[in-house]
Amino acid sequence: MVEELLIRNGVVYDPINGVKGEKKDICIRDGKIVEEVKNPKVIDAEGRVVMPGGVDIHAHIAGGKVNSGRLFRPEDGRKGAEPKTKVCRVQSGYSVPNTFATGYRYARMGYTFVMEPAMPPLAARHTHEELIDIPILDNAALPLIDNNWMTMEYVKSGDIDLLAAYIAWMIKATKGYGVKIVNPGGTEAWAWAKNCDLNDAVPYFDVTPAEIVKSLAEANEKFEMPHSIHVHGNMLGHPGNYVVTMKTFDLVKGIRAYRDRPVLHGTHVQFHSYGGTRWGDFESQAKAIADYINSNEHVSIDIGSIILGDTTTMTADGPMEYSLYQITGRKWTNHDVELETGTGITPFLYSGKVSVHTIQWAIGQELALLIKDPWKVALTTDHPNAGPFIGYPILISMLMNKRRRDESAEEMHSAIFDRAELPSIDREYDFYEIAIITRAMAAKTLGLAEHGKGHLGVGADGDVAIYDITPEERDDAGKIQKAFLNAKYTIKGGEIVVKDGEVVAAPQGRTFFVTPECDEKLMDEMLTKLKDTFEHYYSVSFANYPVQDAYVPNPYEIRAPWRS
Amino acid sequence: MKMGVKVKLISGRTVAQGQNLDNKLSDEYFSAVAFCELNATDMTKIGVSPGENVKVSTKYGEVVVKAKQGAGNPEGVAFIPMGPWANAVVSGDTKGAGMPQYKGIDAEIEKTEEQVLQIRELMRQYMR
């Protein structure tokens, strides 16, 4: 690793520190940003766009679900096959790349941190084994804690403190980062081939998804958690679901976060912004959702925008994947996880010739463009659900260039003109706003900024992306896409990992995890019940459940004290 | 002249075979897998009684094993525990699927005076 690095003459976009495209030098020593350096290796950025390393708030990159996707799609695997090089291991896959390709391709886009947003607690070891094998990227994972029997029982009895003790134990046991919610109640119902809407009773548990979301938000805020609850709501992908989405957001209004951050992060909201009553009259309700976000401060979102083409959909939302498979008749994998969650996977082709897909394509971008404050929005494709992450540069070029959007719309199904807003929106993102939705917002919302991610202030990690484009070229959509796909330089922890779009070094990333600190008496009371549950209903023993330290070889621990 | 019976040959796991997985060069393994289970009627047909030797012949080879009576076997179905003796006569052709046919092979079984080869002798055959 280079000890000292000086990035000279770059035009820097560092939103967390309010730096809006200033020509500015960046100094790095021993992997951290510093005021000045003595005899550094110098990179002349020559007026190119310079940003902090990218931070992805939500991409399925590791774990049993992702690997089942790889395993059952050799036809996707062969698409991305590349031989090993002096630096890189073998690569394969397009929508479900192998772990090595995942690290290399993100790094080539200038990203240095990715959040794996759906870790089944019982299979957490698997998620961590894959994270170990993803080069370069720092990472973290969110355990699924909403369909768990223990959660639902505490929600039913209203013991928020004991629920907090349970999530504290779960996050610790899984070396996780926060609370993930996916189709609350619906995934448990799916174990009986059923589903739940927001206010339906979960079969046999006599609680509603609404109660689960509210209780988990309250329990989460019992600690100084870096991140809010991370919510994939009910009825994903159903026409008319935008109402459910807003009702879900409303549930947690008034809950007080311990610091300046939302109390709920709504993920891949494109899939939750649907109007109409069936596919026939399907339409965009992105505007309604955007209006809600614009007039409320307690919710942040990521867009989950569509990339046209073939992809692999995967989620803990089992019933949703089943209905998708019912539409396509293609291969379908389901994997329900005892007492906790589930998994559904099926391939899907988004076609610009299909009205519904076209409207979906519009919705993701509409959300980004209609929500006024970019600090409330993160750019995602819910990789690989709405499309693979290597499609980000396409999205960036769309958001920055109305002409490109209009040209694309012309090529697509006419439904985009009468059942979506996109063609009527003139807004164009600038580099500063792009820097917000691809790094700063995610770092802030995840509570990672104070841990050195997503900005270039003194003391921050030496994670820097230098793109081969100048501010003057902001109208060249093609060049923007090219520049954001293959960074001129990506620097990770002060080490040059990408040069001229090629991976030149592949160091190990770190895994961030949170340790919520819970009152011991509470914990003991909760454990009595938990151990009994293991004894009678789990298929593994309590002693073998928690993730051993061996699975987090490069740990970064964040403590979350109990709020008195 | 040859007094054989035509069967579908199956190979598979047994408890004793599993117990000696790490113990294959032993007598226990030999007695756990070097036999062929036949239906009583089939045994009478070839005039063999339990403990006597039979020769199992298929398109792919032949092997001598001890005869055993298998209550569960229907007529025309023979069973040899998975292992080198069974594999001496199964088909290696995977038909483009990567998997040999270990089960349901056409075989002829006859009584024989020939001895059952010990594991090392059996392997030596492949080393010629």
Binding site: H126, D336 | G12, Y60
Partner: protein, 433 residues
């Protein structure tokens, strides 16, 4: 005497993790909770005493260093090497194996190739509606074992996870469940069944299609007898499947090994999908070795493909039937092989063993076996799950960490693989100069 609880059993795909083991002067002296087969493994057997290299016909003891160096020389020189086995060792060793395969342009394959490889091919065609074993324990009121015989192959399966176990929604255990067995012979498992269907060898495919037709409502086209099973029985089983709240099919090598191979499994899965239009239905392969699933996981996340991965062209190419071990050997493609934690000498068809016996073979294993008889380099290792720890994946892909119960002088599989990789790289570097 030390008592160790919650021991994870390193034998079959059940990976029972509630075993109690007693250790006295560094030996396992007592085992509670394991099945007969698992107990036998934990109690231990005779070992390979020392590393050895074959010299004019006979194995001659040598040091680890010599054996590892020799192994590396063989592999570095090979034009079509095969790295096979991996199912009775931990994922940590498999990871080094994939790296070695990349380094030397080898084919890497595990025992799934001759076990549930066809199940993987089937999953790649139609997917797998499945669940973890605890779901079966808590919810499954109908259990179907099709071409699988747990009483012989998975001793604790019914007790811990399925027919006999008690679960949240089925507190009565087997009183609350129904058991159906489909097989070509009346096995011990079949004798326990509420309903036993005896199918003619090689006719499973037809039976599945008939069931699907019935489940979709076209029983009118189904003939009176299919593959030895009467239409009456098919209708009965179909209605059992429709009426339960949660059912599961456990299938084994009875279907993967017989005529139809992977397509039998495709059809079993299609049958599950058909049943799923009526109620919750799942299906699961009865994976054999305790970590056969784990290798497939590691190989998939590292190469994109689960087994039979050919790295000879630099990038991964996967095509069982071409890149699978049995084919490579019967076609006499390989010019060297590394065999780890498995015994093709005993478990491959004679035709393939013939070629294996002719080429340089490196064997890495704790125990002597038929493969040792012709191996040219023999490297004994610690027994994973007894003498060394690591990751393994249960038949339902739940990851567990097997323990180290006793100390050993032997190197672990992972250490040996790392040393071989280093040696190979050293040789390559020299060649480079």
């Amino acid at each position: 005497m030390v008592q160790i609880t919650d021991v994870v059993c390193p034998l079959c795909g059940c990976v029972c993790d509630d075993i109690v083991v007693e250790v006295e002067d560094n030996r396992v002296t007592k085992v509670r909770g394991a099945c007969a087969v698992g107990k036998s493994k934990l109690m231990g057997h005779g070992r390979i005493k020392s590393p050895a290299i074959r010299e004019n016909g006979a194995l001659k003891d040598c040091s680890y260093d010599e054996a590892i160096k020799k192994a590396a020389e063989i592999l570095a020189a090979a034009r079509r090497p095969l790295l096979y086995g991996w199912s009775s060792t931990v994922c940590e060793a498999a990871k080094v194996g994939v790296e070695l395969a990349e380094e030397i342009g080898a084919v890497i394959d595990n025992t799934a190739s001759v076990c549930h490889g066809p199940s993987v091919l089937a999953i790649q065609d139609v997917g797998l509606p499945s669940c973890t074993l605890g779901e079966v324990k808590n919810r499954a009121s109908l259990i179907i074992y099709w071409g699988s015989n747990p009483t012989s192959a998975h001793g604790n399966h019914m007790k811990r996870y399925s027919y006999i176990s008690k679960g949240y929604f089925l507190p009565g255990g087997k009183k609350d469940r129904k058991l159906v067995v489909v097989d070509v012979r009346e096995t011990k498992t079949a004798k326990m069944a509420d309903k036993f269907l005896r199918v003619e060898p090689g006719k499973d495919y037809l039976v599945f299609s008939a069931l699907r037709a019935i489940l979709y409502g076209y029983e009118d086209v189904v003939p009176d007898e299919v593959g030895g099973v009467s239409k009456k029985d098919l209708l009965e089983v179909a209605s059992m499947m429709k009426e339960v709240q949660f059912g599961i099919i456990f299938f084994g090598m009875g279907v993967t090994h017989s005529r139809g191979r992977h397509n039998n499994i495709v059809n079993a899965i299609q049958t599950t999908r058909a049943a799923h239009t009526h109620t919750k239905f799942n299906i699961m392969p009865m994976r054999g070795h305790y970590n056969v699933a784990g290798f497939n996981q590691v190989c998939t996340w590292e190469t994109g493909f689960p087994f039979a991965v050919d790295l000879s062209l630099g990038y991964p190419w996967y095509n069982p039937g071409e890149t699978s071990s049995t084919d490579l050997l019967i076609r006499r493609e390989c010019d060297a092989a590394l065999i780890i934690a498995s015994d093709p000498g005993a478990h491959f068809p004679g035709e393939s063993v013939k070629h294996l016996a002719k080429i340089p073979v490196i064997q890495i294993d704790p125990f002597p076996n038929p493969t040792t008889e012709f191996a040219d380099v023999v490297i004994p290792t610690a027994i994973s799950g007894i003498e060394s720890e690591g990751s393994v994946y249960r038949m339902d892909n739940i990851p567990l960490r097997v323990r180290k119960l006793v100390d050993t002088e032997y190197m672990s599989d992972e250490e040996v693989m790392k040393r071989i990789l280093e040696e190979v790289r050293a040789i390559k570097a020299k060649e480079g100069e």
